[in-house]
Amino acid sequence: MSETVTAPPPTGTISALAPKKRSRAARLLLGRDAIMIYALLVFVLYACISIPRFASPVTVGFLLLDVIPVLLIAMPMTLVIITGEIDLSVASIAGLTSALMGVLWQAGLDMPLVLAISVAAGVVAGAFNGFLIAVVGLPSLAVTIGTLALFRGLALVVIGDNAVANFPPDLTAFFTSKIGGTGIPTVMIGVLIVMVFFGVLLHFTPFGRGLYALGYSKEAARFVGIKVARSKFWLYVATGSVSALAGVYWTLRYSSARSDNASGLELAVIAAVLLGGVSIFGGKGSIPGVIAGVLLIGTINYALRLGRVSDVVLIIVTGTLLILSVVTPSIFASVRRWQHDRQVRNSLPQVTTSGSTRAEHPAH
């Protein structure tokens, strides 16, 4: 039977107790996003004070140059995970784009054409994921594990174990250039546009409103007229396209097109998105939180490196942050549930109603 009993979320069943009231401002200032941003600010402050050479434009430059690929891909990935799906193939799409760029450039095509074809390949790759997941209805985890191998494999087919490095110097120089003396990389302008685009799309459009509904309950979304398959399809096209942009960036920043560019990046992106407060179950999360998450990981890594902490310990920090970010809320939730239960037990039942409670526990 396809009918499975899913446990309802713990809240809500016993909900007639007066809901706790907080002002909007208080909620905004105490929310998950805000905490991420505080954590980021506190860490930056700490690093500026205690780590020599941290507070400088050079820091800003290198830090941002390093986090740009993750930051870019994290934007559409946030939307995908909010709908309760996942895309593991992003880094492979970036790799495929990079390989294509190398081969096409080597073949003597004009740079604009090279870029156009490479990015188009990313769009097609994303649409392929979207077709299998949204239209055919296959599980995204399995599909994107498959396309992770497929797209990386195609990158290998395209470029083999060659590396193409002779990109036009003025172009590669542009990709590492800074805006004036601020230390901010010029390409951050483009990244900012992507961030604003996905931020507005998620938080200020009907489409974005629909994604949250979709992530919480496909049924509820369909009842308000959201086109589930179509929304998901376009999200995968978006991850494909942005991954391609990240691939282009990667190639020109390091001035190297190789089949293994950006490999393993998918896990870094997902770790940052989850740290940024997006629920792996879907339905929860925000772009500002994710940006803070990406920057927090980037800053900690950079600071540790400056502080002469061995490079190799850095990934322990990423892993620990990721686990803490998901385990802590679940610990808080169980504490709150325990308190709530006690409260309920202490409050005397008022005799008000007939017995029409359908306590929605998993029935059997």
Binding site: A16, A220, R222, V224, G355, S356, T357
Partner: protein, 511 residues
């Protein structure tokens, strides 16, 4: 014979199972005030009551899922206190649910014996022995099911038989069947009854919960009636009548319960012609006019919700047309239905009606998301404004706007669902079990609201399993049975007996 104060024993000796005065509350909501039922060995005992009478809470107590706050619970004359389902099973109680939960990937035999598979050589599971024992069980029940097939894709009837086989193999002496026939066809019901009777004859005590009076009277030896969480009476079937049982179940004069005020019935808003979907429903024809409340009645599983979902475009249909205000609706496109002026308050608030983690304002404005946007951008302020307007109308407190709906009570949640659909200013409102699981006060508020909406010229299609609600609210009642409309009753003709009769129509031929 009526037992107002059911004694601990009677001529049948100590009861196989006796629950007296059981109570269960959830916060301020009393789900069960006085749950009393006493089963003797070798009897089939019916438990009847309206939805919300506390039957399912009582079953969950017997099954060990809930621990009662008060009351006396005896099995074979000995007091028991179950902490888990395992305790209940160990005491010899098995529950057969309306839709059993089997492990879809495991074989039939394994589903029966999971966790206690017969062992053969070297302490390993003996599939031969397991298969043979499963065959023997099915032979005892007279139902051939291949023990080696996986459970996925089995009919509900077969799944129930597997649950019964499991109960027998567990040596269960008390069998509780919770609305087992709701999703079965006539022949399958007969087969189930034959099994139940043979188990009774071998000394089992069976508690049979059903809404179908013909089944209750055909199968059961005694009938216990519940209402509003309380025990009402127990009767010998031979001495009871349907009218008497219905009166006790309802316990009040239906006509005066939820009066719908008269409204001017106008033009046809919704017109459904020849709607059909293979295996689900067929030949569905009906109109709903402005100012009119049409109830789609019938038993759970008769196809009422399925028809409504097809009309709204959630599900596909194979044949027929749906016309709203003279223009045909595109099939399988809820957005088109919403744009045309249909609202749908679904039966499952938590999974279908609301996005529980979002705030009241977000939920209310979800239906308006396209019209609220200016140049594609939605502002939170406009959303709140729209939401407040409609929630105020329904007396959802203003302070609630920024709270996640999951923190509200069931009644307030239902108001939010209503608000989000009223915000679309629908011409036709479909309401599926509009008062399920909400308290009495909100219930009558919802009824008043539906009546007011009809008064303002909105056409309402209501699906309800509560007979008083149907009879009190509807201008016309369409009764469905096994995917077909079996009766169309005007308000004047709609009596409990007439509706019940049509809802169980073909059963009388089968039994």
């Amino acid at each position: 014979m009526t037992l107002d104060q059911a004694p601990a024993t009677d001529a049948r000796g100590p009861f196989a199972l006796s629950l007296q005065g059981a109570a269960k509350t959830f916060g301020p909501v009393i789900a069960l005030a006085d749950g009393t039922v006493q089963l003797a060995a070798g009897e089939i005992h019916a438990l009847v009551g309206e939805n919300g009478a506390g039957k399912s809470t009582l079953v969950k107590i017997l099954a060990g899922l809930y621990h009662p706050d008060a009351g006396e619970f005896l099995v074979d004359g000995e007091a028991v206190a179950f902490r888990s389902v395992a305790d209940s099973k160990a005491a010899g109680i098995s529950v057969i649910y309306q839709e059993p939960t089997l492990f879809p990937d495991l074989t039939v035999a394994e589903n029966i014996f999971i966790g206690r598979q017969p062992k053969g050589r070297a302490g390993l599971i003996s599939r031969t022995a397991m298969r043979r024992q499963a065959r023997e069980l099915f032979a005892t029940l007279g139902v051939p099911i291949d023990p080696d097939r996986v459970a996925e894709g089995l009919s509900i009837a077969d799944q129930q038989i597997i649950e019964i086989a499991k109960a027998i193999s567990l040596d269960a002496r008390v069998l509780i069947m919770d609305e087992p026939t709701a999703a079965l066809s006539g022949i399958e019901v007969e087969r189930l009854f034959a099994v139940a009777r043979s188990l009774r004859d071998r000394g089992a005590a069976i508690l049979f919960i059903s809404h179908r009076f013909d089944e209750v009277f055909a199968l059961c030896d005694r009938i216990t009636v519940m209402r509003d969480g309380r025990y009402i009476a127990t009767h010998e079937t031979s001495g009871a009548t349907v009218e008497q049982i219905v009166r006790e179940m309802v316990g009040r004069d239906i006509a005066t319960l939820f009066p719908k005020e008269d409204a001017d019935i106008g033009d046809v808003v919704l017109s459904v012609v020849g709607l059909g979907r293979a295996g689900v429903f067929s030949d569905i024809d009906f109109d709903v006019r402005s100012g009119e409340i049409v109830a789609l009645s019938g038993l759970v599983g008769a196809g009422r919700t399925e028809v409504a979902r097809a009309v709204f475009g959630i599900d596909a249909y194979d044949r027929g047309t749906v016309t709203l205000l003279g223009s045909r609706l595109k099939p399988r496109d809820p957005q088109a239905a919403i744009n045309a002026g249909i609202g749908f308050v679904p039966e499952d608030r938590r999974k279908q009606g609301l996005v529980m983690d979002l705030t009241v304002a977000r939920n209310t404005a979800l239906t308006l998301r396209n019209s609220l946007a200016r140049f594609g951008i939605i502002s939170g302020a406009r959303e709140r404004e729209a939401s407040e307007k409609w929630s105020n109308l329904l007396q959802v407190k203003a302070g609630y706007q920024d709270l996640p709906v999951s923190t509200l009570s069931g009644g307030n949640q239902q108001k939010v669902v209503l608000a989000k659909w009223l915000a679309t200013e629908p011409k036709l409102l479909i309401v599926d079990e509009p008062t399920r699981g909400i308290d009495v006060g909100t219930k009558s508020a919802v009824h008043k609201l539906l009546s007011d909406l009809a008064g303002r010229g909105i056409a309402i299609l209501m699906i309800s399993s509560e007979l008083p609600e149907v009879l009190g609210m509807a201008d016309r009642v369409l009764v469905m049975h096994e995917g077909r409309i079996t009766a169309r009753l005007d308000r004047a003709d709609a009596t409990p007996e007439a509706v019940m009769h049509a809802a169980t129509a073909s059963m009388e031929g089968a039994l």
